[in-house]
Symmetry: C2
């Protein structure tokens, strides 16, 4: 590491202060890492993906990747990968099937279907953060270009019929702050969480073609806690009343928050910091102005989650010119 | 919920301010929920565990539980459950095996071996928080008594030989603050993260009987990010030098931090808030003063993780009077 001693990043966060005003726009082109130390590593072990830039030929394995789709649940992302096989008319030889590339790690699943990666991120910002760091390094080592990132998720809606699809134009934390704070070497650094407006609108147009449900664009609140953090009365702890809860949810709804989940702030902040075009598309599975608990049937939940998958699949087909 | 309108918790957090001084000590006895609304719910769906207090007879299923062991990886917690079958001399009928009670959820695994639950918590505070809320409600609905909670984990050590076992006496965040902050209805509430000193010392005594490795008690830093948050130079982003990194790690080491991981603050804060006796026992898998990357072999990692499992198993056997 001695060679790193005088190395500073190509971009310091100071240069990125203008992010706060959203003036840095995500771009196409090669993936750039804002870390000058990576190229000095004898080996870069992507520990939680069970991959390495020395043990694996990452350019050969992943060089053609153009779309990375993240979702919380490993089973759901495995199903999404099989769904994309059909959507992209991928021909899988007899006796073959998709294999979880990260099976050695037990932390995340990683499937590749042509130019599409399907990755699980687990629940919450830290779990999303680990896999995002490693996927970004994977795309860098593989020399990928013109990559777009999607998070497909579930969320609690505000004043929306369950099953509504929400596309996030900005993520905010539990105090409505539009950035992710990362305690870094004793400083609380703030990373703004903006998303690509054009991508939002293109996805909304695709979703709106299906009139059996609504597809809307709005603010997403991202919390570190599913119960108290989302004003639920049904956690193991609660020191507020139903009136306190409803007053809070109405207050954030009045300020443009359409849904609440647990990863958008990290996904948006890291994608923006890496200047990669990305979008967050979540179905709502409960109206939090009506209820805390998720009572929809398993079949209903599957159907709602399928809506986000179909919208992203249509987007990918269009950009690959697949009829 | 109208019956909740005037309900306030049996304990308000205000009463618990004295937690800050650690004066509230965890106690044996029945699990108490600091949430007056739970008893008003027509049904309490433990969504991420795929259980419900109406659809499942929780007292019959879980009433005898005395020890809950949490760990990050689902596969590891499945292996731990099978390990406890042997340790507790549990007789499993021919043709039977352990079954993941939460298999319907795909978020966490939950195994029961006599009075022991083996639960995965995923990675990071939010993922730990969700399962902790729901396990605590499970223990409450099941009328469990005298329960002890353990987190068995892996961590990066500071100045310790990899394979050392660290038992946490206090958890701190990335700024050395000994509490977890939860944004709750627009307020940042602070929940102190203390652990039971007697339990720490009993576990250390058990670990110290094996002189092939060291078992130490100390402070654990809990971060929201694995890379920058833990002063690693090998993430997708890095704007500090190797000297900055080492200066920070030495500074926190000088203040008593022995290891760094991603769940202890939440586990300690929620267990303390619930006044349940609990302990955090992690092996170190890398010395962060020497390296960022985890290069130990799979076999070595398995061996190190087995140390924590054996210590907790010996503790449980002792308290169940199993020779």
């Amino acid at each position: 590491m001695s060679t790193s001693q005088t190395k500073y990043p190509k971009f310091l966060d100071a240069d990125f202060e203008k992010d706060i005003s959203g003036r840095i726009t995500p771009r196409d082109g090669p993936i750039v890492l804002r870390n000058p130390h990576i190229d000095d590593l004898a080996e870069d072990v992507l520990y939680h993906l069970d991959l390495s830039d020395k043990k694996n030929d990452l350019p050969a394995m992943f060089g053609d990747v153009k779309f990375v789709c993240f979702g919380g649940s490993p089973k759901r992302m495995e199903k999404f990968a099989h769904f994309m096989v059909k959507e992209l008319n991928i021909n899988i030889q007899a006796g073959m099937t998709l294999s979880n590339i990260s099976h050695g790690s037990d932390r995340y699943v990683l499937y590749k279907v042509g130019p599409v990666l399907s990755v699980s991120h687990g629940m919450g910002i830290p779990s999303m953060s680990i896999v995002f760091h490693e996927v970004l390094k994977l795309l860098y080592h593989a020399c990928c270009k013109d990559v777009k990132l999607f998070r497909l998720g579930t969320s609690g809606g505000l004043g929306l019929e369950p099953g509504t699809v929400v596309i996030t134009d900005a993520a905010v934390d539990g105090l409505l702050r539009p950035y992710m704070e990362v305690a870094t070497l004793g400083m609380l650094l703030q990373h703004p969480a903006f998303l690509d407006r054009d991508l939002c609108e293109e996805l909304q147009a695709i979703g709106s073609a299906d009139t059996s449900y609504n597809t809307v664009i709005g603010k997403t609140m991202c919390t570190y806690d599913f119960y108290e953090g989302q004003a639920r009365l049904d956690g193991a702890f609660c020191d507020f009343t139903v009136e306190d809860k409803l007053a809070f949810l109405k207050r954030i709804h009045d300020r443009g928050v359409l849904n609440i989940e647990m990863e958008s702030l990290c996904f948006a902040a890291m994608a923006h910091r890496a200047a990669v075009k990305s979008a967050i598309i979540c179905c709502t599975i409960v109206d939090r102005l009506q209820s805390d608990q998720i009572s929809a049937s398993h079949e209903m939940l599957e159907d709602w989650q399928g809506r986000c998958q179909q919208i992203v699949a249509k987007y990918i087909r269009r950009h690959l010119n697949i009829q």
